[in-house]
Symmetry: C2
């Protein structure tokens, strides 16, 4: 029952050479006689030898694992980011270990507390709403394991970060709304305290300001990120005496929720009421009318954060970098106002 894999010891014994030679030959390092090297490699292949990562990790103090901690994976944005991460991790011989927090600060904390630092070479994280774990991240960094934040970054912590340009994306979205004739623009935001949420809020605010439109506090609603919250927020807006004529949603799922609430009230999205989201979730092309949005470079964000992390891992004194990727306005039907006389 106790399984036994072939080890370099086995190979050494068969070939009647020492384990160190085998080790060197296998890693194609140091000077090893060409002939010996070939013999070793051939036998290793034949025996289907696979290195034991635990042993390698123990011996050289580095596993080839990077941890990824994020709120969810069941949405377009995060699953695409992971795909990007996985792509570069794989190409560089790293494995990714996945931790999902369900956007719960407690869960995130528990994960961080149980994390065996020594079994990870680095950490990629997108914090949960109301994250409580900043100290833990800082501690881990202090212990020497690099952390790169993506998307939902902990602004207090000094380390590499990769995000999209939330401020300018939001600014552009709102300006697009304005230039299409919508003037009473509401914002259904995410929860307070997340920096990207605030960046989008600020973009919204500044776009209004630039165009001399006064801010109506009633038209800014903070809540969760789901479609349901989008629906609820919108119902709340529609119950106001002073109703808006457009919504900029913090993400596409909330925008879709908004569209559903609007449709239920018989309001024609696009013609009577503008809606724009953020992300470019494939759903935005499926819904009708199709949803205008700011496309986020999710795959790219995954790739870049992982590349950055690997640099931190391999180059000892790589200094922290903050990368900000631009979004892209995608105009669809939900902001196409019918010309009114």
């Amino acid at each position: 029952m106790a399984r036994h894999y072939v080890t370099i010891k086995d190979i050494a014994k068969i070939l009647n050479i020492s384990v160190s030679t085998v080790s060197r030959a296998l890693r194609d390092t140091y000077d090893v006689n060409q002939e010996t090297k070939e013999k070793v490699q051939a036998l290793a292949a034949e025996l289907n030898y696979k290195p034991n990562f635990n042993a390698t990790g123990l011996a050289q103090g580095s596993t080839h694992n990077v941890g990824v901690i994020l709120p969810f994976i069941t949405n377009y944005y995060f699953s695409t980011v992971i795909t990007g991460i996985q792509e570069v991790a794989y190409n560089n011989g790293y494995n990714i270990i996945l931790f999902v927090t369900n956007d719960s600060p407690e869960r995130e904390l528990a994960i961080m507390e149980n994390l065996s630092v020594s079994s990870l070479d680095g950490l990629l994280v997108s914090i949960s709403s109301d994250s409580d774990s900043c100290n833990h991240f800082q501690e881990i960094i202090n212990e020497g394991i690099p952390v790169v934040f993506f998307d939902r970054v902990a602004s207090e912590i000094e380390t590499s970060k990769v995000m999209q340009d939330d401020y300018n994306g939001a600014f552009e979205a709102v300006e697009h709304l304005i230039s299409n004739g919508y003037t009473k623009i509401a914002h259904i935001a995410g929860p307070k305290g997340l920096s990207f949420t605030e960046a989008r809020l600020n973009g919204y605010l500044d776009a209004l300001k630039k165009h001399g439109i006064q801010v109506n506090e009633d038209w800014i609603i903070y809540s969760g990120f789901s479609q349901e919250f989008g629906e609820k927020d919108t119902q709340q807006l529609l119950a106001l005496k002073q109703k808006p004529d457009a919504i900029f949603a913090v993400n596409d799922r909330k925008a879709i929720g908004a569209m559903i609430a609007l449709k239920n009230k018989g309001i024609k999205v696009g013609e009577d009421f503008g809606v724009i989201g953020f992300t470019n979730d494939p759903m935005s092309t499926i819904i009708s009318p199709s949803l205008s949005t700011i496309a986020e470079p999710a795959f790219e964000i995954g790739k870049l954060s992982c590349e950055l992390l690997i640099k931190h891992i391999t180059k000892k004194h790589f200094h922290a970098e903050e990368i900000m990727l631009p979004g892209k306005l995608i105009v669809r039907e939900s902001t196409r106002r019918k010309a009114k006389s």
Copy 2:
């Protein structure tokens, strides 16, 4: 720079006891003096001691990692399955290491060949289309590491499997179409060779047979799983002299592609042409008309496969189980035919 974590040795030295006592105290095993145990645990907590998994793994021949190999994570089904897997893995102290194949047999093969068996306690896999890796899976099983397949299973291999009841789901979907008055029912299938694809095809075939409807080979199209393929397949169907009046799609994304192709031709989905999918992707509620479908218990599948795998890992002689979870017909607008006189 060389990071140094606190080890049991450190604890032993401080407390002036031996490492073995520390080890025993920490794991709450064997007989250890209550007092000593408490002292050790207190100090460990204070020092923020974290076990080194590489060392534990090496020493007891088991890491607490399970690998997950699957084609994609960027869709509702797989990301939900992973969430289920992650949930039970987490609760049982296992980490999950993610490998995504992009549905490429070559990539899958490469992953399998490079897999360090000794760094994994078990493997959860959903094979790629045209998988080439069966031998590798068999080898890994022979070497003693348990493998559980989910959804896309390799039927030749004898091990535990978890899937939804594709046959009956398809049967029910087609029967639903028939009972709503559609009779010329096409099937846009997945690629040949995947067992779940075939199960759905057989369900389709048998439902037709039961109701005395003859099969039209032109109405069965095999292609990829994406929305684009759904669109193309449907265009192909609509170009036929004998056109169908309904489509059963192998999954919701293809069904949505079909609906788009239909809409582009000016055909009214539901009223003139029935469409039903499989999965219950959230998109099916977003699209208009909303899409009827067979809901798959994705989260449950993830949970059960991981539970099964853990049983295989912990109980030495746990015998292989095949679990088949029922789907559920969800009727929406895309199969609601307008009564015609």
